[in-house]
């Protein structure tokens, strides 16, 4: 019985996958919209179920662990996926491989669930690959577009390389500690040079998934080439999952190496924020632009993590929720525009406000939230991260991070300027989005506006951490 309760998210997800698989094989329903409603309904179900009967426990000798924080993390991912799925409505409603899309999407989600619940490098690795390999196929889902396959290739080859290198690190960790189980391994990690080297290799794998500089280079190309909803998924869900893992790993497995990993994070934060910003300021494609912006955001998330305490981890999770709303709102608009017109240049957004005021507002709010401008939730998120990060008393780091917010404001304002200030000969025509994407945007908006003012969410996360 424990088994069913503890693994309920994964089990429901698996069931969903199988329902969809049966639908696919049976070819019972041919209406894309109906299928999507079913999938969304099931995801919603899982999301709701995620709130009940959350218990702490371990299964399979620590290969699967769950507690309130992990349940929350899974719920966040599930919710994000639901939003992405809603946004994908317009893009997918005429797509031939709708169910395949969902199957792949949900398997990656399942992989992430396994990954964040794992207390064992084997399960972690499997979850990682389960979330990475189908994603590459998803990136290739705009089958007609060459860029989509180029992106998919870059993604799979880079991620294969990255995971191979971090596997080597894992093998060295195994060799030096004799176990794959985090709980035991932590006792044997004392920071011998080989262990540090192994840690760096493993960290590089994490950083690769997170798109931290200099392991980020695949990000922009893949984001640009992938279909917009997949990009959204990549930039939010898969990144969030990795952060969750990092929370577990840094706070648990590598706790004795904190002196080491703090320095690693320190350097990563600085180069990630700076390089992400420097690239973002000269992008012309909006997806690419959002890619670099999300790289910068990772820098800030790492800043929060670098605190290495409850505050840091809670603020990272909180920020991810905010980031999920903000980034998905931005990508929701991008998806709509690119599905309707195929336009993805920032300059194409000139005069957007005059034709699509609501969408422009959503986009602007989302960008402000990403930039950390009040009263959006992004402000709170970023403030908490920076506050947590300052706990180590490293003011240089905080100053660099804070000043880089200025640079990022510059490029967010570029887009805002294009939408609100610039005039265009041929602005994007009035868009008629579906109810589904409208719903997702509305949810995101509500999230952006409410999440900051209502302190309950953050306090809830903190309380969960304290409980765990």
């Amino acid at each position: 019985m424990d088994f069913f309760i503890l693994m309920k998210s994964e089990l429901i997800l698996t069931v969903i996958i199988f329902i969809l698989l049966i639908l696919k094989i049976g070819e019972g329903i041919r209406d894309n919209a109906a299928l999507m409603h079913i999938a969304n309904g099931l995801l919603l179900l899982n999301f709701i179920a995620g709130f009940f009967m959350n218990r702490e426990g371990a299964l399979f000798s620590g290969m699967f662990v769950t507690n309130d924080v992990l349940s929350l993390e899974k719920n966040i991912l599930n919710f994000g996926t639901l939003l992405v799925s809603l946004q994908a409505f317009d893009w997918l409603k005429n797509h031939k491989h709708l169910l395949e899309f969902y199957l792949l999407l949900l398997s990656t989600l399942l992989g992430m669930f396994f990954m964040i619940s794992s207390q064992n490098f084997l399960m972690f690795y499997l979850g990682l690959e389960l979330s990475a390999i189908p994603l590459a196929a998803l990136v290739n889902f705009d089958l007609e577009r060459p860029r989509s396959s180029e992106a998919a290739f870059k993604m799979i080859i880079s991620s294969a390389f990255a995971s191979a290198i971090s596997l080597f690190g894992i093998s060295l960790l195994y060799g030096t500690t004799g176990t794959l189980d985090f709980a035991y391994m932590a006792d044997y990690l004392h920071g011998s040079e080989l262990q540090l080297f192994a840690f760096i290799m493993v960290f590089a794998g994490f950083a690769f998934k997170l798109s931290a500089v200099p392991f980020h280079l695949w990000t922009a190309d893949v984001y640009e080439g992938a279909p917009a909803p997949v990009t959204a998924y990549l930039s939010v869900i898969s990144k969030a999952a990795m952060v969750f893992v990092l929370i577990t790993v840094l706070g648990g497995l590598f706790r004795d190496l904190e002196g080491m990993w703090y320095n690693v994070l320190y350097l990563s934060i600085i180069v990630t924020i700076v390089v992400g910003n420097l690239f973002a300021i000269r992008q012309q494609n909006i997806k690419r632009f959002l890619a670099f912006s999300s790289i910068t955001q990772v820098g800030y998330i790492l800043l929060g993590l670098s605190a290495g305490n409850e505050t840091g981890f809670s603020s990272a999770i909180y920020f991810l929720i905010v980031y999920l709303f903000s980034n998905l709102a931005a990508f929701g608009v991008v998806t709509l525009v690119s599905a309707a017109t195929g336009k993805e240049g920032i300059d194409d957004y000139k005069g957007f406000y005059s034709t699509n005021p609501m969408l422009a507002l959503v986009m602007a709010l989302a960008l402000f939230s990403l930039a950390g401008i009040p009263p959006t939730a992004g402000f709170f998120g970023k403030m908490f991260l920076v506050t947590a990060g300052a706990g180590k008393g490293n003011y240089l780091l905080i100053a660099i991070a804070a000043l880089n917010m200025v640079v990022s404001l510059y490029y967010y304002l570029r887009v805002v300027k294009a939408m609100f200030v610039d005039k265009s000969e041929s602005p994007i025509a009035k868009l008629e989005g579906s109810l589904m994407s409208g719903l997702s945007l509305a949810i995101c908006m509500a999230g952006i506006i409410v999440t900051g003012f209502v302190s309950g969410l953050f306090e809830y996360i903190v309380s969960l951490f304290i409980k765990v």
């Binding site: 490098f121 084997l122 690795y125 499997l126 690959e129 390999i133 189908p134 590459a136 196929a137 290739n140 089958l143 060459p146 860029r147 396959s149 180029e150 992106a151 998919a152 290739f153 870059k154 799979i156 080859i157 294969a160 390389f161 191979a164 290198i165 596997l167 080597f168 894992i170 093998s171 060295l172 195994y174 060799g175 004799g178 176990t179 794959l180 922009a220 190309d221 640009e224 080439g225 000269r282 690419r288």
Partner: protein
């Protein structure tokens, strides 16, 4: 057979690992890059097996890890090759340097 120590095998695996890395970094054919990845993964496998064998024979964690790595390598290779072939249809090339429409 015990006169071959762990370190010998580690030397082999490490060398294999970096040969794979070298191949990955220099091979311009996508398929050969994939082959290099396989070499790297095999180096990891050797590591796991060797560590399991020499140091921690009381459990089979290394062995299992190896089995799973092999499985995943297969899946990964399959997807990668499918993508490469799709890419080839679009670009008429499997030279990795030709797939650079998106940059900067």
């Amino acid at each position: 057979m015990n006169e071959i120590g762990l370190s010998h095998i580690l030397i082999v695996s490490t060398a294999l690992f970096f040969i794979g890395v070298y191949g990955f970094l220099t091979r311009r054919n996508m398929i050969t890059m994939l082959m290099s990845v396989e070499l790297i993964l095999n180096a990891v496998n050797i590591n796991f097996v060797a560590f399991n064998h020499y140091l921690y024979p009381d459990k089979l964690e290394g062995i299992f890890f190896t089995i799973f790595i092999i499985t995943i390598a297969a899946a990964e290779a399959a997807v990668a090759i499918a993508i490469i072939i799709g890419l080839y249809r679009n670009y008429k090339s499997v030279d990795v340097d030709d797939a650079d429409q998106m940059k900067h």
